[in-house]
Symmetry: C2
Subunit: 202 residues, 2 copies
Amino acid sequence: MAQQMSEAEGFEPTAFIRKEEQKDYFDSINVPSIVESLESTEETISGAIKGFDAVVFSAGSGGSTGYDKTIEIDLYGAVKSINAAKTNGIKRFVMVGAAFSDVPAYWSDTMKPYYIAKQLADKELIRSGLDYTILRPVKLTDEDEPGKITIESDPYQLNKEIPRSAVAKTVLTVLPDESSYGKILEMSEGNKEIETAIKEFV
Amino acid sequence: MAQQMSEAEGFEPTAFIRKEEQKDYFDSINVPSIVESLESTEETISGAIKGFDAVVFSAGSGGSTGYDKTIEIDLYGAVKSINAAKTNGIKRFVMVGAAFSDVPAYWSDTMKPYYIAKQLADKELIRSGLDYTILRPVKLTDEDEPGKITIESDPYQLNKEIPRSAVAKTVLTVLPDESSYGKILEMSEGNKEIETAIKEFV
């Protein structure tokens, strides 16, 4: 996402990263980075994002960590970031959530804590008063090409996967688009160009 | 709590319990019980509490279960119960939370998910528009006698423990007390009679 953003017109992204080792990669694509943790206090996070125009939250604790990290990062990290944006007067907030997080009937036992975390993080954002857009992709793949996508209100209409690069391109496209404020986009790979899919949905 | 309530004037408690086996105990103290799970859907929980005048949430996943249950019961179970109360027009909601849940600096790594769950559950209640009172006891003990207590705004002023029976008696005392609406009571054993401690605090 940082790479797409830095190559596009009109963005000056800074990556908020957790590990010092990740810095080299962002240096190599000429994207400034801040090493800080979502496990830090709200005050620390607030200091780290001070002065920016928008926040894109796409962090996740990952599938290999425990449920403690699900609540600490995916949920509480998001809550602190939303509060930090408010504190700093940063009005624009794009959240990368998860498809089906409003559909408990779809949740498996092992994924349930993750979906709850994502649902409650989204609710926090919706109630925040910020200019939000929530993207809810299905399972992410690592294909380089974004390809085409489908955006739906009903996640059961989606396909099973979506490339990370498609989500990144969607973030870039909605970020400056005021007509996407207050919208929730459940999304997967599909049959429409990204710009077209967004325009038709929002 | 059910026992104290059923022995007191002016209450007709029903216990919301998870296991059929617990029913015998409540039968033995003449308290009706409903067997239902906080892992059920919001609609099911809503059906179970229909017609009551108040909800007291004192459930907890317990220390022996995993962090998945912390998020599913302590947090999401509470969120669903709060929403269910709103749906049913039940205005009065007393929450048994946890001392120090607003003080991240106090949290140990192992207890962190629990404190986050309790903090976010309380925030959900505060924003709900319900007539809430939040009790935040320190570590619970099983002494029969409630004894005396301390109620503070600053949990660092508290002692280390409190009998469950004291928390139960506090729930009973605040439940009909409108002056406790919108209040958060951090509490431990202490040097004041329960009624006095409440009256001086609220």
